[in-house]
Subunit: 203 residues, 2 copies
Amino acid sequence: MTRIQDKRVRLVDAAKALFHTCGFHLTTLADIAQEANVPLGNVYYYFKTKESLAEAVLVKRSRELHEALQAWEQGETVKDRLLAYVQYEIDNVEQTVQSGCPIGSLCQELAKQGGSLADGAAKLLNDTLLWVEHQFQSMGMGHDSHELAEQFVAAIQGNALLTHTFKDPKILEKLKPTLSAWIDKVASSKNVSMQREKVEEYA
Amino acid sequence: MTRIQDKRVRLVDAAKALFHTCGFHLTTLADIAQEANVPLGNVYYYFKTKESLAEAVLVKRSRELHEALQAWEQGETVKDRLLAYVQYEIDNVEQTVQSGCPIGSLCQELAKQGGSLADGAAKLLNDTLLWVEHQFQSMGMGHDSHELAEQFVAAIQGNALLTHTFKDPKILEKLKPTLSAWIDKVASSKNVSMQREKVEEYA
DNA sequence: GTCTATATACAGATAGAC
DNA sequence: GTCTATCTGTATATAGAC
């Protein structure tokens, strides 16, 4: 790409990192410009407002999320896929210890002020939720899939908050065996009723 | 109390509400002063800095939390007590829809900047966690109590985040039967091993 | 396209009359 | 104790030379 795109990319990357570590409101455009090695006045050539820069960050986070979802989707069994998601959180646990879940903290901070930023952050969490729900459907959980997905994502988000608040990576790490056992239990309890319900096709 | 205390109380109440609905950084002292019907310049007679006002808010939240814990403690069985906590969240679900869990959102926002505010917010969540852990100990869950408490609190915090993000009170409302069944399952699975473990005294 | 200098707005905090 | 007026710093955003 051209040099102009490089600067734009650098600004979005710097903003993405700083919004996560310091939060949206505490991060100044001067901080972002410095981190990206771009003079402050030049930022406005690429982004008219701080909000439009934040929107670009949300677009980038969305692209990265869907790449991750695709990667986890490669797992052989549904359980493998769901645990790949959990493992991803564990691989990035130091980030979560320092600044919380990147998506969860965006939702918490941006949901309060409404507007397009709140919607964009909510969509990240919703896309995650829909993917998990799809996994449970592939498992044959039918109508329960939505609530199971909510419990799964809530468990990860809740444990990420505890991890961040108490600066303790072990909290997230312990979650993997816990969720693994929970998936088994959920699946086995469903197998009983599978005798009378049609098993859904894997998508 | 004297009139001077009234103003102080009004400022703390206004700050408590606004920090929750708008977040700490987005709330200005002018907003707080207006909400409390106190002239801006007079705020500094009671609180030298915005941070010291936030500390007073944390003290108030801590007092209120411990009052709530005592109220829930009146439940007859351990399950009643834990579900009283969940019911409390449901009773205040509209607040959570609008602004998230008061304690969880404080932790998320203040943990990033460290300092005494981060510690104060973390203590609120930790006190909650310790109370839940104590309940599980009273149930005879022994060494598992800590991790059960983490899962319990994480479930509530995670569901509060989803409730806030998706503006959907039903998410938190559905949690009560889910956790109720979970408590039963946990208790019954422990009853098996109670035959070989000493049952701990209720505190 | 780039970057310095600056306008504008508003935040936290203070001075000092009452 | 109270409150107006204001200081000071800093954030977003713009103007305009290069």
